[in-house]
């Protein structure tokens, strides 16, 4: 038997790997061109070992991170025997481990001497990759071909040389080509930084120690996970929740879960969920897996280092051709951002029946995707993309949080002062949405109101949820207020628009996004007077 490596060496390697992933994220942000990356940090970075196991990730965007192992596996299979030092691969195909087309993934193999020791991976949301609407987030797309350029796994950099033809192809297919180029180079820059740092670690500690440390780091996460679920009730549970609709038909779409915990193994079965739909809310399986990973981490012990070892005791099934394991050519752009949130909701609802003390009421359950595009006054095309936070659900020991991103995303807002410099838009309001939190012993967090006025004619796409079904309460808590989007015409009239649609605004018209509040937890009668008074003084709740 090989002697274990000492604890400090193992921890130095583990901490080092996580720090590399964080550093990659900073490099990507600092070199990037688009506001979506440099201001909102809509990107994620991680490291894999030479066999394709995830070994470290930065604290970035859960829906990006959880779907990464599949894409690395696909690239390894696809390029077996053709992976060399200095190469980088690019892919965005949701059906080959991607999430949705705007998320482009770049994978760089890392060699030390002749040995493949790992991969550095970055995934970033590009604010335009073609398709029928600016921003490539059309709420009414009906197949993936309408959503933009689809890139299968291809070699983007070969032995240190960037393939200019591929760069040109991607730039040509985007409404904002220079920004694409800047962002893609920023991703490569992050990957190369990851490569350099990973080589430093391997060189420093030796290949053998490094490989052994990786095994032990993964085993450590597994041990921590097993210990976290040791006292978990060995029960089955099930739940159902709904999407508002797919943007084509306004019919609610059911998501069903049956979950079981047996012999320290979680099994999530989504059988009974709707078949894939015409609109853009279908999920490639990688996204479904991401949401499952998120829930498992959140309800056990979030401090366990996230890597391959953490997920050894989880299996997920979703029938092929269903909403949660869609087949081509289904449109998927909203699966990643919207349906993923509902998967979390339905899973948490099922877990609330087993471990109620660990589960909050429903959070806003959407990302409120907003894309505004058009031509500036000097006729250059622009696309602005952002997602908007809302209320988090009330918790068994405290209120939900007001105006924040929950569950599968954690992107930042774009500073108003950045928006108004870069785009022909004026932000007229950015505030907490009063009285939107679900009432209860512990109230849900408040949603947000964000109002934009267009200075030029623009096309607006929205992709949002929880406008027909409300974020639910738990243990007697009331639901949070539903979301609402509307436009304000030049005459000052408010016209409510659908949650998933594309509209136009004339110069001077405004779009207003009111995001959902979180559900309440527990009976309102039990709410402490001090909390009621404080909310009243702060004009948060009447």
């Amino acid at each position: 038997m090989v002697a274990k490596i000492d604890l400090i060496t193992r921890e130095v390697i583990r901490g080092g790997l996580e720090y590399i992933a964080e550093e990659m994220g900073i490099i990507l942000r600092n070199a990037a061109y688009s506001a979506n990356i440099k201001e909102r940090m809509d990107h994620s970075c991680s490291l894999f070992d030479g066999t394709g196991r995830m070994i470290a990730q930065a604290e970035h965007i859960p829906v990006h991170l959880g779907a990464m192992p599949l894409v690395v596996k696909r690239v390894m299979e696809h390029f077996e025997g053709e992976i060399f030092a200095g190469d980088s691969f690019i892919v965005n195909d949701p059906y080959l481990g991607g999430t949705h087309l705007p998320d482009i993934t770049i994978i760089t193999p890392v060699f030390y001497q002749e040995t493949l020791v790992g991969f550095s991976v970055s995934r970033a949301h590009h604010n335009d990759i073609g398709g029928i609407a600016p921003g490539s987030m059309a709420g009414n797309a009906t197949d993936i071909f309408q959503e933009g350029l689809r890139i299968p796994p291809i070699k983007f950099v070969s032995k240190g040389v960037i393939n200019k033809d591929i760069m040109a192809l991607i730039m040509t297919n985007s409404r904002t080509p220079q920004i694409r180029k800047g962002d893609l180079l920023a991703q490569l820059s992050a990957n190369w930084t990851g490569e350099k740092r990973l080589v430093e670690i391997v060189k420093n500690k030796g290949v053998k120690t490094f490989f052994q440390a990786i095994d032990e780091i993964l085993d450590y996460s597994e041990r921590r996970f097993l210990s976290a679920i040791k006292n978990f009730p060995q029960k089955n549970s099930s739940a159902i929740d709904y999407l508002d609709g797919d943007g084509i038909r306004s019919k609610k779409i059911p998501l069903k879960i049956k979950l079981s915990l047996r012999k320290n193994h979680f099994h999530f079965d989504f059988t009974g969920t709707a078949a894939q739909v015409a609109g853009a809310v279908n999920c490639p399986f990688a996204v479904t897996l991401s949401a499952a990973y998120f829930v498992v981490r959140a309800i056990t012990d979030p401090t366990i280092p996230a890597n391959d070892g953490l997920y050894r005791h989880l299996t997920v099934t979703a029938p092929e051709g269903s909403l949660l394991n869609a087949c081509p050519p289904a449109a998927v752009v909203g699966g990643n951002v919207e349906t993923s949130q509902r998967i979390v909701d339905v899973l948490l609802r099922a877990f609330a029946k087993i471990v109620p003390e660990r589960i909050p009421a429903a959070s806003q359950g959407t990302m409120n995707n907003l894309i505004i595009g058009g031509l500036t006054s000097t006729n250059s095309p622009f696309t602005f993309y952002e997602t908007i936070g809302g209320g988090s659900g009330g918790r068994p020991i405290k209120d939900g949080v007001d105006g924040i991103h929950t569950h599968m995303t954690n992107t930042m807002n774009t500073p108003i002062e950045e928006i108004e410099v870069r785009y022909p838009l004026i932000v007229e309001e950015y505030s907490l949405r009063e009285n939107s939190g679900g009432k209860g012993q512990f109230r849900g967090g408040l949603g947000i109101v964000r109002k934009f006025k267009a200075k030029v004619p623009v096309i607006v796409s929205v992709l949002g949820e929880r406008q027909k079904t409300a974020p639910w309460g738990l243990e007697g808590g009331l639901p949070g207020l539903k979301g609402r989007y509307y436009k304000v015409t030049l005459a000052g009239k408010e016209v409510t628009i659908d949650g998933k649609t594309t509209i136009t605004l004339a110069a001077g018209e405004s779009i207003v996004i009111e995001t959902p509040g979180g559900g309440g937890w527990g009976n309102l009668a039990k709410r402490g007077q001090a909390l009621i008074d404080s909310d009243h003084l702060d004009e948060k709740m009447a």
Binding site: I8, T9, G15, L17, E18, Y19, I20, E22, E23, I26, I27, N30, A32, Y33, A35, I179, G182, L185, A186, L188, S189, W192, T193, K196, R197, I201, F294, R297, A298, P302, R358, I359, P360, K398, V401, D402, G403, I404, H405, N410, T411, M412, N413, P415, I416, E417, E418, E420, V421, E428, E429, Y430, S431, L432, I448, K451, L537, D538, E539, K540
Partner: protein, 706 residues
């Protein structure tokens, strides 16, 4: 012959002790050191009394430089005892009062369903909106509505608000409305403290600017009053030079300037320690130093790799330690450069207590210096780390500070029995050692954050332990991380204050350029730099620096047009008279971009965003003095006594030699267990650690690890 000694005075006021150093500028020699209890309610008192007592009026006149590090801002912010924050309000653009609370809309812990956002620093009820709006060009879209101001002003009065922050959208571009509001309030309510964002942090990105301005407003009543009183008192003592304050960036700033931007001195005290540590690393030619500074209230850790102090511009005040991640959001952002360090509320005065679940906890509340640990006999009732060290024999039961400061072991024991032993059913020794173990475990976390969590191996570092309490815990912490070498400087308790004498006077200026490299005119750039340098030189000359002791450093901040973050290019040695200067700057930018990002864009325009200039007044630094050389065996007069001290490795109390630091000679060697006492600190040598006294009087502790 009369020699007039020119003096420099350094004062480091911590939560517990005030440290004072007096240096002869002409020789660089430290001629007086002192440590007095901090007078928490009026921190300046202890120091002023000392000056009056120790220096006659004629000597006070010879003081040429006066440097001060203070923890007043951070202690106020972290809610230490006796310091309550003033009632503060925010005035902002209509529709945007929640910008401060929503922040960047992200949570600091991704997977924790029970996450919290830091409590809004100003509650919604005190965030007032005023009707006005500027465009990003600075153009007025909606004029300022004066009637709104009257309503707000009345509310401020009714609510007895002491300090106000003003942050309006796009005020970094035009201060017209902020200025008007400021003037209006000054006129209506002269008592009010006002921080306007165009003065505090005139940079774009509204949340960070608001947060910085609000924190400034929160600190202003306190800091401003404190510095004003101090400056006046100093003048009354006949000292004619301005007071300089250590800032969070490791440089000093004049108190009248700092008074208006107290947000720049939040980490004043800890910064002085890191500056001292870096000087130490340079003097001893050490490439990897892990600094550990433990005083009465907090402990701080930082690294100095290749003798360079690392600065961070993404600092958050009151942020929680989150596994050393860069991703933040648990505290309040402040947009000023800070020395990068990790901090924990754990010091000699940290109180031990039992939580709701019946577990023993240490900190974060500190007994400070009033009342101080129980053993000080000043009315403290809660047992502290210092009390625990005393009951384990690690501190001299006859008194601290060379036994000039009497302490009462009986009181400490009584309190420990009441508060800890009885509820937990433990003995005195067990409880006392439990407190130390928990404190060490807490403190080892900050050492891990600055090393392990950044992928640095702590075993490659030497631990430099200082602060009054640092040397008490150094061996235990080094052992936890398997560090082989510890250095204890000659005056560990006054080491941070030394940092004040190792710094240069520094004035930084920045000017926004925002031009493509091809559009930049060399002559205009030179002119812009010269005007910044003139400002710097004028300030330095007013402070007594001569032409020969002034140097200027020049930097360009540039990026590819379209990027959001700039790279800083030092160009001090580059002549702008050179016709190829702009091309050379572009080349320097590309080289730096290539080394950091691994690529360059040949045909992409490079945007010169800012020029930055540092004007430095170079100060003569004290050198590390050599001490007398002895043999391997310490001289007999160095052995003060033996007493019973608790060591876990030895299974309990053992008879332990106690040495006097001042009597030890260079070349002396011995092995733990041992105690080394000196005026400003006590060093514990655990079993298996070897001590060697170095020629500059530094203690070098070593231990082998398998």
């Amino acid at each position: 012959m009369i020699t007039v000694n020119r003096l420099a005075v350094a004062i480091d006021i911590g939560g517990t002790f005030t440290d004072i150093l007096i240096q002869d500028i002409s020789t660089g020699e430290i001629i007086n050191i002192s440590k007095v209890a901090t007078t928490t309610r009026a921190p300046e008192k202890a120091f002023l009394q000392y000056l009056e007592r120790e220096l006659p009026a004629s000597r006070r006149k010879t003081i040429e430089r006066l440097y001060h590090a203070t923890t007043i801002a951070t202690n106020a912010f972290l809610g230490q005892m006796h310091l309550t924050l003033p009632k503060t309000a925010l005035i902002t653009t209509k529709g945007f009062r929640d910008v401060l609370e929503i922040g960047r809309q992200r949570r600091s812990e991704l997977y924790n369903l029970f996450f919290d956002r830091p409590k809004p620093i100003i509650p919604r009820r005190y965030r007032f909106e005023v009707s006005e709006r500027l465009a990003s060009t600075g153009e007025i879209l909606t004029p300022l509505k004066l009637s709104d101001l009257h309503v707000i002003e009345k509310k401020i009065r009714d609510e007895k608000i002491e300090s106000v922050a003003i942050t309006l959208l796009h005020s970094y571009k035009s201060n017209v409305h902020e200025k008007k509001i400021k003037e209006f309030l000054e006129e209506q309510n002269p008592q009010l403290f006002i921080s306007a964002s165009f003065e505090v942090s005139p940079e774009h990105r509204e949340f960070e600017r608001t947060s910085t301005t609000v924190i400034n407003a929160l600190l202003m009543p306190f800091v401003s009053k404190y510095l004003r009183i101090l400056s006046e008192a100093i003048a009354q003592l006949g000292i004619q030079v301005p007071l300089y304050i250590m800032q969070s960036n490791g440089g000093v700033g004049r108190s009248d300037v700092v008074q208006r931007i107290p947000v720049s001195i939040i980490e004043s005290g800890p910064s002085a320690g890191v500056v001292a540590a870096s000087y130490f690393a340079k003097s001893l030619d050490l490439d990897a130093v892990l600094s550990f500074d433990m005083g009465g209230t907090t402990a701080k850790a930082g690294t100095i790799v290749n003798k360079i102090i690392s600065l961070t511009s993404e600092y958050e005040v009151g942020g929680e330690v989150h596994a050393g991640r860069i991703t933040k959001g648990s505290g309040y952002p402040v947009r000023f450069p800070f020395i990068d360090l990790a901090e924990i509320s754990s010091g000699g005065g940290s109180i031990a207590w039992i939580d709701a679940g019946g577990a023993l906890q240490v900190g974060p509340i500190s007994a400070g210096s009033e009342p101080g640990p129980v053993c000080y006999g000043q009315g403290g009732e809660e047992p502290t780390i210092t009390d625990a060290n005393l009951l384990l024999g690690r501190l001299n039961p006859k008194g601290l500070l060379n036994q000039t400061f009497k302490i009462y072991p009986g009181l400490a024991e009584k309190s420990l029995v009441e508060k800890i032993c009885k509820p937990l059913g433990l003995g005195v020794t067990e409880s006392a050692f439990g407190i130390i173990k928990i404190a060490n475990n807490n403190m080892s976390k900050i050492l891990r954050i600055v090393t392990v969590e950044r992928g640095l191996d702590p075993r490659d570092f030497s631990l430099l332990a200082f602060g009054g309490a640092g040397p008490l815990h150094a061996c235990a912490l080094a052992s936890a991380l398997q560090i082989k070498t510890i250095f204890i400087p000659s005056t560990p308790g006054l080491f941070s204050a030394m940092g004040l004498l190792y710094t240069d006077a520094k004035h930084s200026f920045v000017k926004s350029i925002r031009l493509k490299n091809t559009d930049v005119d060399r002559a205009l750039l030179e002119e812009a730099f010269l005007s910044l340098e003139e400002k710097g030189a004028a300030l330095l000359k007013a402070e007594g620096f001569t032409e020969e002791t002034i140097i200027h450093q020049r930097f360009i901040e540039a990026r590819y047009q379209g990027q959001g973050f700039e790279l800083q290019i030092p160009i001090t040695s580059l002549s702008l008279a050179d016709p190829k200067a702009i091309e050379r700057i572009t080349a320097l930018f590309n080289t730096k971009h290539k080394s950091l990002y691994h690529y360059i864009l040949e045909n992409e325009p490079v945007e010169i965003v800012n020029i930055r200039s540092n004007s430095l007044g170079i100060i003569q630094k004290p050198t590390l003095k050599k001490i007398a050389v002895g043999t391997k065996t310490p001289p007999s007069e160095a052995l003060l006594e033996t007493r019973r001290v608790y060591f876990e490795a030895d299974g309990g109390f053992v008879e332990t030699p106690v040495y006097l630091r001042t009597k030890l000679l260079a070349g002396n060697r011995f092995t733990g267990p041992a105690v080394i006492e000196q005026y400003d600190s006590t060093t514990i040598i655990e079993p298996s650690w070897h001590v060697e006294v170095e020629k500059q009087g530094i203690l070098k502790l070593t231990r082998e690890w398998k």
